[in-house]
């Protein structure tokens, strides 16, 4: 294990405990829960969300946010559907879909990393713009009837038991996890997220890296789109326009990724996804409606961030948690006022508080 070490380790352990607890709870609701088929299928309906969460993790670790992922996925899926409907080969069409997704991410990347616009505002705009784009491409139509070889990815099963989606989910987690934790690029994400200025001083190509994370986030949204199409078998322009986004964000934050950047693991996000899947599954068993489920997920998101704030305050030795600050911002003006910034108080912020 690495980095912030002990602290994160505790968080993932907590997640494992929660997963077990949720499992126990689910079993009391229905003995079928523990059947192998059910367990294996647990994450299938949420696999596409998980994949998006993995991509989003890159962005959040680097200290940014991308709320346009759901819309990006939709555009990608819808483009694919239209192309295929027009007769294009299904694999070629999906490739184009992926390229489009990456391109949409690139737009975000350029605006945020090169023009230095705040990621909150930009991705808020692209969230809406891409949603609109989906409507422009598909109109009010729905597309379905994709070839089984394609839909198997998201909806097929090996031996009627092991979902391909689970394999894709695990595969994505492993690949992205390796990139995040074992490559230089991944390392840069952590340093940029923790302290962008110090990273730049040390020669980290922060602009290039920050453009890349948005491209990556877009690309994974494209992959998620493929899984979505496989699982649901059809697509409309309003796909993933509901609580999906918040589930993705929750998976990331609940997974221990610091919303302010610089910390988090792919394992944590994976575990968080399982936990969320379990909870939703359990709630369904308990006959809790979809809406109430959304309330729970929303509450989880808030709770996870609050917990993060408390932990950070504990790190700073006993400060009450609403006084907790990010370490590098505690700079006191040094004798030689090395600040060249003209507006000391006007740093751009992530949708709310000056960090």
């Amino acid at each position: 294990m690495r980095l912030v070490g002990r602290l994160l380790l505790r968080w993932e352990a907590l997640l494992v405990v929660l997963i077990f607890a949720a499992g126990v709870w689910s079993t009391t609701l229905s003995p079928f829960f523990l059947h192998r088929a059910n367990l294996l299928d647990l994450t299938t309906p949420y696999a596409y969300l998980g994949i998006m969460a993995f991509g989003l993790t890159f962005v959040v670790v680097a200290g940014e946010i991308d709320i346009s992922v759901a819309s990006t996925m939709t555009v990608s899926a819808v483009s694919f559907a239209q192309l295929w409907h027009a007769g294009v080969n299904v694999w070629l069409a999906s490739l184009v879909g992926l390229l489009i997704a990456a391109g949409l991410g690139l737009v975000n990347g350029v605006l945020i990393a090169i023009l230095n616009l705040p990621s909150l505002a930009v991705t808020l705009g692209t969230l809406a713009a891409y949603r609109g784009l989906a409507y422009v491409i598909l109109g009010g139509n729905a597309r379905s009837g994709f070839p089984t070889s394609f839909t198997n990815i998201g909806g097929g099963y090996i031996h009627n038991e092991l979902p391909y989606a689970l394999l894709v989910l695990i595969g994505t987690a492993i690949v992205l996890g390796v990139v995040l934790h074992s490559t230089r690029f991944g390392r840069y994400l952590y340093t940029i997220g923790a302290n962008r200025e110090a990273s730049r001083f040390s020669g980290v190509p922060d602009t290039r890296v920050r453009v890349s994370i948005f491209v990556l986030s877009g690309l994974t949204a494209g992959v998620a789109g493929i899984v979505y199409l496989g699982y649901f078998g059809s697509v409309q322009a309003d796909a993933a326009s509901g609580s999906e986004l918040i589930t993705v964000v929750t998976a990331v934050v609940l997974g221990g990724v610091d919303i302010f950047g610089g910390a988090g693991t792919m394992v944590g996000v994976f575990l968080a996804l399982i936990l969320v899947a379990e909870l939703r599954n359990g709630m369904q068993l308990a006959n809790v409606g979809g809406a109430a489920q959304d309330i729970v997920v929303g509450g989880l998101l808030l709770g996870a961030i609050l917990a993060g704030n408390v932990v950070r305050a504990a790190q700073e030795r006993g400060l009450p948690w609403w006084r907790a600050r990010r370490p590098q911002k505690e700079v006191e003006k040094t004798e030689s006022h090395a600040q060249i910034s003209v507006n000391p108080g006007s740093e751009t912020t992530q949708g709310g508080f000056t960090r």
């Binding site: 946010i65 709320i67 605006l111 023009l115 230095n116 616009l117 705040p118 909150l120 505002a121 930009v122 808020l124 705009g125 692209t126 969230l127 809406a128 713009a129 891409y130 949603r131 609109g132 784009l133 409507y135 422009v136 109109g139 326009s241 609580s243 986004l245 918040i246 964000v249 934050v253 919303i259 409606g289 979809g290 809406a291 109430a292 489920q293 959304d294 309330i295 997920v297 929303g298 509450g299 998101l301 808030l302 961030i305 609050l306 704030n309 948690w321 609403w322 907790a324 003209v342 507006n343 000391p344 108080g345 006007s346 751009t348 912020t349 992530q350 949708g351 709310g352 508080f353 000056t354």
Partner: protein, 346 residues
């Protein structure tokens, strides 16, 4: 070139930039009126504008509240859900109490909205959760609550008292009554921001949160107030929504938050906080509605509208940020005027 001359020239440019924003929207609005007036049938008719007026009214009223939040360098994405929730509560109550006073119902809606806003405010100001995440979560939570209390049912227009339904079709002096409501709200909002001391603090907080704290402004308290205002007006918007659309169900006002944020951002309320006016937000709402309507009448695809809205947010943010940056650049040159003319090399 003396330092004084430099200052003089620069003073002109920053002043004009300041006014340019609102003038710009107004100019865009005029352009649209001309453009659509020529290109689209029935655009410049009274009926058309009465229709637009009612729809804009809802967005405009809520945009006033959203302005308060954005001024403090935050955002409230839960307004759409609050509108839906309060719309349902309004119509449902009326459904069962036909003779209830409309004023009381409106107050009920605003009260619920206020509570929702309070929740947002506490999460952001005390919980220190970034506003975008907090209100994204409450967007889901409030919408979920709405789903729960509707229980799959919806309110039918036929069950609502006539006086309520008439709200959206009555006109006073040619202007729809709901539009009048929005105008009154805007007037109150503008007055609040201009005359009420604690509301004035919103600008300071958005402009420089640290300096605001240093000056002794109780930032947390103000933020909660801002979110409560946003919720309150979203509640009123819900009441208006119910009057306009009569048939309210759990998906009502889904996605409305974008209309509102677009109106506010286009209207010149800076996402960095600290500047912007209610007038601007109103103009923004009108502009958005005008373009939507114009496109509809021109038989343009409905579907371009959402795309346009999102693109407009991005463009507005980009323009504002570039202006910001240009000004900072100018400021740098002022640090040591005697060294201001260094460098032929770019």
């Amino acid at each position: 070139m003396t330092a004084g001359m430099l200052t003089g020239r620069m003073r002109v440019s920053t002043d004009t930039i300041f006014r340019l924003r609102e003038l710009g929207i107004f100019a865009a609005l005029m352009f649209c009126l001309l453009f659509f007036g020529v290109k689209a049938n029935n655009f410049l008719t009274v009926t058309n504008w009465q229709d637009i007026g009612t729809d804009v009214a809802i967005v405009a009223a809520v945009a006033v509240g959203e302005t308060m939040v954005v001024l403090t360098r935050n955002i409230d994405l839960s307004v759409g859900s609050i509108i839906g929730l309060t719309a349902y509560i309004s119509s449902n109550t009326l459904q069962h109490h036909h003779h209830a006073s409309l004023v009381v119902i409106a107050l009920l809606a605003m009260g619920v909205g206020l509570l929702c806003g309070l929740g947002n405010g506490i999460l952001v100001a005390l919980g220190r959760i970034p506003a975008i995440i907090a209100t994204l979560a409450t967007l889901a939570i409030y919408r979920g609550i709405l789903f729960e209390i509707t229980n799959g049912q919806n309110v039918l227009a036929s069950n609502l008292p006539q006086n309520f339904l008439n709200l959206s079709s009555r006109n006073f002096a040619g202007i729809p009554s709901l539009a009048w409501m929005a105008i009154v709200v805007a007037a109150f909002g503008a007055a609040l921001l201009r005359w009420v001391p604690w509301a004035r603090d919103f600008y300071a907080i958005g402009s420089n949160p640290d300096a605001a704290r240093f000056t002794g402004i109780p930032v947390a308290r103000r933020l909660v107030a801002a979110f409560m205002l946003s919720g309150l007006l979203a509640g009123l918007g819900g009441f208006m929504f119910a009057a306009r659309f009569a048939g309210v169900d759990a998906t009502s006002a889904n996605g409305y938050e974008f209309l509102i944020v677009t109106a506010v951002v286009i209207g010149g309320v800076n996402v960095f906080g600290g500047s912007g006016t209610v007038l601007g937000a109103m103009l923004g709402a009108v502009l958005v509605a005008t373009i939507n309507d114009g496109f509809t009448l021109m038989r343009f695809s409905q579907f371009w509208q959402e795309f346009f809205q999102g693109a407009a947010i991005v463009v507005a943010v980009t323009v504002d940020a570039i202006m910001f940056r240009k000004l900072q650049d100018v400021l740098r040159r002022r640090r040591r005027p005697e060294l201001a003319n260094v460098g032929g090399r770019r």
